[in-house]
Amino acid sequence: MGERLLTVDRLSTHFFTYAGVVKAVNGVSFTLDRKETLGIVGESGSGKTVAALSLMRLIPDPPGKVVEGSLMLGDRDLRTLRDEEMRQVRGNDIAMIFQDPMTSLNPVLKIGNQIAEAIMLHQDKGKREAWRLAAKLLDRVGIPDAEKRVNQYPFEFSGGMRQRAMIAMAISCNPDILIADEPTTALDVTIQAQIIDVIEEMQQAYESGVILITHDLGVIAEIADKVMVMYGGRTVEYGGIDEIFYNPHHPYTWGLLGSLPRLDEIEKTRLTPILGQPPDLISLPSGCPFVGRCLYERPECRDQWPELEIVGPEHGVHCWIPEAERREVRASLPHFQEYVR
């Protein structure tokens, strides 16, 4: 990969509500290099979106607050930037696209307007030129008839096209990092693949780093270079894509992989969902948040958060189960019978 773009160290974001403190993100660390794609995986409530929004400093305050951590973009810590400086970063150095393109685009402004304004803001270009660039960008992301489309309103676009327009908007200022928060979740399955392709293409063209947030492992499998698995606001496992898929070490990761239907299964095995409910983020245990749902937990799990354990090349996990035992258990799981090392 290329140069290191982003280093996030022990990010913690809490929400101070009437009912208590919601610890949405706790001590999450990751890095991102140029041309690299980091996939952040987890269920709703795992903190993945909050982590991304924290990066952009888009957490509403009150009630939210980034209470700890450093967010190094190059040699600058995003936490310490002044508001105007941070606004320079947004859209320009780091861009973000969101889950639902219908509600994420302003319904009363033309698409061209919404793309051009970012260009005019960050690249100091005039209106006419910005609109021209907007049309070019729409074309770039694969929207036919771009010249006409640029003058249309969001409701005149289909779901997939809207998401492409969002991508166009995001890359309009050549950001170093693109964050995509569940970009395909609101779209038809057939369109999903196209959007992923577009993201990949743009990444190649602009040589940016991509953070892809999703709960869909299939999407991760397609374009991620490395994966970070989150649960209950913490990172439970991270590693390269092959490592995670073929050598998963955390029980939650096993659960995620085990709940995927597989095309190559010879026998029809039942999907094994992960039993239980997501944790209440206000009353998180001080240990591993997966307690209560983990089939292999032991007494230490509830009270102490396990240290990082390296289990492979650039592959770490936080779990109290000793490695040897983990391998044993994993080998006995139906899902991994055939291919796990």
Partner: protein, 327 residues
């Protein structure tokens, strides 16, 4: 609110604008409380809205005052009031201008020496009565026509909704005035007029809820069990669609009270011996210039406070049952 000259508000009842804040939304999403069931959930959210709680207290207090005659005798007069509201006492009204508030008469006495406090208290009953009965009439009509309209659709729906449109087309208070002119003043006429003219709001709300619920699975389940159409409507669909209606009821009672006050103020509402706040204000109007301010001030205050109570509670209820918060 129907009293006012700008009586177009009924149309805007359809605007589902809510004042729930971003913080409330985030908190609810994050806290992820399992819904405790419709009412516990609503109550929890309502409690956080202080203004609405105040409104609720006001509503309860005034409804209680209004119902004291049913509850029982508290004083020799049979009212909560210290004096007989109709007992005249010329001595304390020199020059026929009444007497200002004093220890024996906290709200003062009117031009006939009647105790203003007692009169105001008794007028509460009439006002509350009008509010509740008028809304009840409107509600009954609306609860019949609305669900029928929503459930059957087609031309039944069109006819009922077009008729509702026509009722909405009239500026509310003028409409009521017109009917009262023809019917003549009197308590029952007031009930009827306000009640019959307000049905459209409730019908529309009900219909909207019925439409959205109609597609839901439990209706299918009930039908699968062979329940008749009517049964489906009233036992399965209706109970789940009532939330906006409760809001409308709260606002509606407030509105009916104000409308009655306006009618009585204009001289075409309640007639003696009944007294309502509006009538009192109208009766005592001419004494204002002569300096006897207390006679109409207290009924005005009671009226304002009551309406405020219903509005605040209604608003709070609307926010507390806001579907956008139902995750």
């Amino acid at each position: 609110m129907p009293d006012r000259d700008t009586s177009g508000k009924q149309a805007t009842e359809d605007l589902t604008i809510s004042t729930v804040s971003e913080r409330d939304l985030i908190e609810d999403k994050l806290v992820g409380r399992k819904p405790l069931g419709l009412w516990a959930d609503t109550w929890r959210r309502l409690k956080r809205n202080h203004l609405a709680v105040v409104g609720l207290c006001i509503v309860v207090v005034f409804l209680a005052i209004g119902m004291t005659e049913e509850i029982g005798n508290f004083t020799p007069n049979g009212y909560l009031a210290p004096y007989d509201p109709n007992a005249t006492n010329y001595e304390i009204s020199p020059r026929g201008l009444g007497s200002p508030p004093s220890w024996s008469h906290p709200f003062g006495a009117d031009y006939l020496g009647r105790d203003v406090f007692s009169r105001t208290l008794v007028a509460t009953r009439i006002s509350m009565l009008v509010g509740v009965i008028a809304v009840a009439i409107a509600l009954i009509i609306g609860l019949i026509l609305g669900p029928i309209s929503g459930y059957y659709g087609g031309w039944v729906d069109s006819v009922i909704m077009r008729t509702a449109d026509v009722f909405f087309a009239f500026p509310y208070i003028l409409f009521v005035l017109l009917i009262m002119t023809v019917l003549g003043p009197g308590l029952w006429n007031v009930f009827m007029a306000i009640g019959i003219l307000s049905w459209a709001t409730y019908a529309r709300l009900n219909r909207g809820s019925v439409l959205s619920v109609k597609a839901m699975e439990y209706v299918e389940a009930a039908r699968a069990q062979g329940a008749s159409d009517l049964r489906i409507i009233f036992r399965h669909v209706l109970p789940n669609t009532m939330a906006p209606v409760y809001v409308a009821i709260a606002m509606g009672i407030g509105g009916a009270i104000v409308t009655e006050a306006a009618l009585s103020f204009l001289g075409i509402g309640i007639q003696p011996p009944n007294a309502s706040w509006g009538k009192m204000i109208s009766d005592y109007l001419s004494y204002l210039a002569a300096g006897s301010w207390w006679m109409l001030t207290f009924p005005s205050v009671f009226l304002t406070v009551t309406v405020f109570g219903f509005i605040s509670f209604g608003n709070g209820l609307r926010d507390a049952t806001d579907p956008k918060l139902k995750e």
